[in-house]
Symmetry: C2
Subunit: 334 residues, 2 copies
């Protein structure tokens, strides 16, 4: 690192700019000060560790920075809210320059601007290992629009935005050094430049009664299980309805991997899983697609807890929903 | 690590307990949900990296966890506010067990209870290096009670709570393996179990017109410079008025280090520096001492920016305020 803590903070402060709108005090004091807005507030945080969550050899610093923000925005979206403010803790390794930190912040600020987030403070420390970050984000949500993971009801339809597997496919394309052409390029973009589904969550809330919602950060199968566990229900997923991304099909073909496995296990998709009354499914899919341009698919239904989380084939054959996806600590991704 | 991510989160959730009071959704969802309270809100975060901020060989995990919380509470105190909620990002190294994480959380929860903080969420990830943490904290503050670093006025008295140098003295006692007796034990306690000055900050606000306030996390000299830089003023510190902790005197004697150097450079003291109109100094010192039991000392006065930050001896001899204290990145502590 070619700059001291104070110089680095001065650079970040200049890049971020002064406090705006309802923020009275931004970067550079002991804490940010702002007027709370909205019925209720949301608070979430995500940690990112080099070589666990990202590799600097695969991803440009701008993309890494943007993902720090998008990941939190996605959590806010999945509660039914809008993101507002963030603070950023950075652990900077010896081999990063001040210009590298500028790039990382440029990515964070791009994403922040895209989602209406103001970066209002943070901490910068030395890291003896790789690059570290933790972003905490405040959001706002209307009292009648909070959607937790815990409200799924037996009989609900399970809807999903988007198509699955492209992020994992992109990661594998990058790690295998596949030539960046056609769908491979699309997949690496999906991995490097994910999108958070704020508009989609709001569209669900405008037209339906979402009972439970979650964003897909650790993989589709894993998040279906989360919804089931938190709601105390079972989930029946229709194998032939899982929307597999064309990028996953193509890279699965190139690498000899089952695209469905990619779709079920792909992390950082940031798509939404929503359960709503089955009677609302058809018009909801129509409305959300029309308003947002996103695909929305009914992938199955909520069942009794005793049924567990199962995947049913077109012939009616049932198997346990595969335990794939990203779990930290004891069970690293193979 | 002998537990997976989900098991660890389940343990943490059990230790923390369900949401309370104005918190509607706590740990276990995409984000915490709560009713904002108070005129204005505060948001701050602090990052902690093993072997940079703490050593597991010196400090019990409970003390490490407590300091994660106290450090943020101290930032909230220094803005004039009260702490309310926190989210915790943890990077857990391979050599820590689930029981170790329980201990760390026990320390965080002890400190959180002491200061009225509710832990409402977080993230747990694997760390390929040492233990990592970042805590983000929400606080509340009355609109008329916000004190920034930027308001110091020429002529103000500079007041400090407490006595300085004990935390650094304690760290050195631990790293030199000094026998834990008498003042050495007191110093290591000051290092391992620091206190945030919420009551003192409020007492200043009750009786005086604080123009600027900061907590001493990087060292007294360094924070005096911060106040000066942010306020666009100079600071004249009286060498013979700097309240040196008896622990610093004793450990300075044992290790052959100037206690004043310890006092000026000691990080994580979490005492407050406040500038107030000189006319209010006497009664303020009296009031804050009486109400809180803390020492309060006038250590100097705010001067014109052109004078810079200086330290004046009892004979009137002036020298630049030493550039000691903790700065991350380019200038590690010697």
């Amino acid at each position: 690192m070619d700059a001291g803590e104070h110089e680095l903070i001065a650079r970040i402060r200049k890049a971020v700019g002064g406090p705006a709108g309802a923020t009275l005090v931004g970067i550079g004091d002991d804490a940010a000060v702002y007027e709370p807005a909205g019925d209720l507030e949301l608070l979430t945080c995500d940690a990112f560790v080099e070589d666990v969550h990202f590799r600097r050899s695969f991803a440009p610093l701008r993309a890494i920075g943007a993902k720090f923000i998008v990941s939190n925005v996605s959590d806010v979206a999945a509660m039914g809210g809008f993101p507002a403010r963030a603070v950023v803790s950075l652990g900077v390794p010896e081999d990063m320059s001040a210009a590298d930190v500028d790039e990382l912040y440029a990515g964070m600020l791009d994403a922040a601007a895209r989602y209406g987030v103001e970066i209002v403070g943070g901490d910068v420390v030395a890291s003896p290992g790789g690059l570290l970050a933790s972003v905490a984000m405040i959001g706002t949500v209307g009292r009648e629009r909070v959607v937790t993971r815990a409200g799924a009801v037996v009989g609900d339809a399970i809807l999903a935005t988007g198509r699955f597997g492209a992020s994992e496919a992109g990661l594998r394309a990058l790690s295998h050094g596949l030539e960046e052409a056609g769908l491979v390029r699309a997949a690496t973009r999906r991995h490097l430049e994910p999108v958070a589904r704020i508009a989609e969550a709001q569209a669900f809330l405008d037209v339906a009664t979402p009972h439970a919602m979650i964003d897909v950060s650790d993989g589709l199968a894993s998040e279906v299980r989360h919804l089931a566990d938190e709601s105390g229900v079972g989930m029946r997923v229709r194998k032939d309805r899982i929307p597999v991304a064309p990028e996953a099909v193509e890279i699965g073909r190139l690498l000899g991997v089952d695209p469905l496995e990619l779709a079920l296990g792909s992390g950082e998709e940031f798509e939404l899983l929503v359960t709503i009354p089955a009677s609302e499914a058809e018009r909801t899919i129509e409305h959300v697609c029309a308003v947002t341009g996103s695909d929305v698919t009914c992938i199955g239904e909520v069942v009794e807890r005793s049924e567990g989380c199962i995947m049913v084939g077109p012939g009616g054959d049932a198997e346990p929903l595969p335990r794939v996806g990203y779990e930290h600590l004891a069970a690293p991704r193979g």
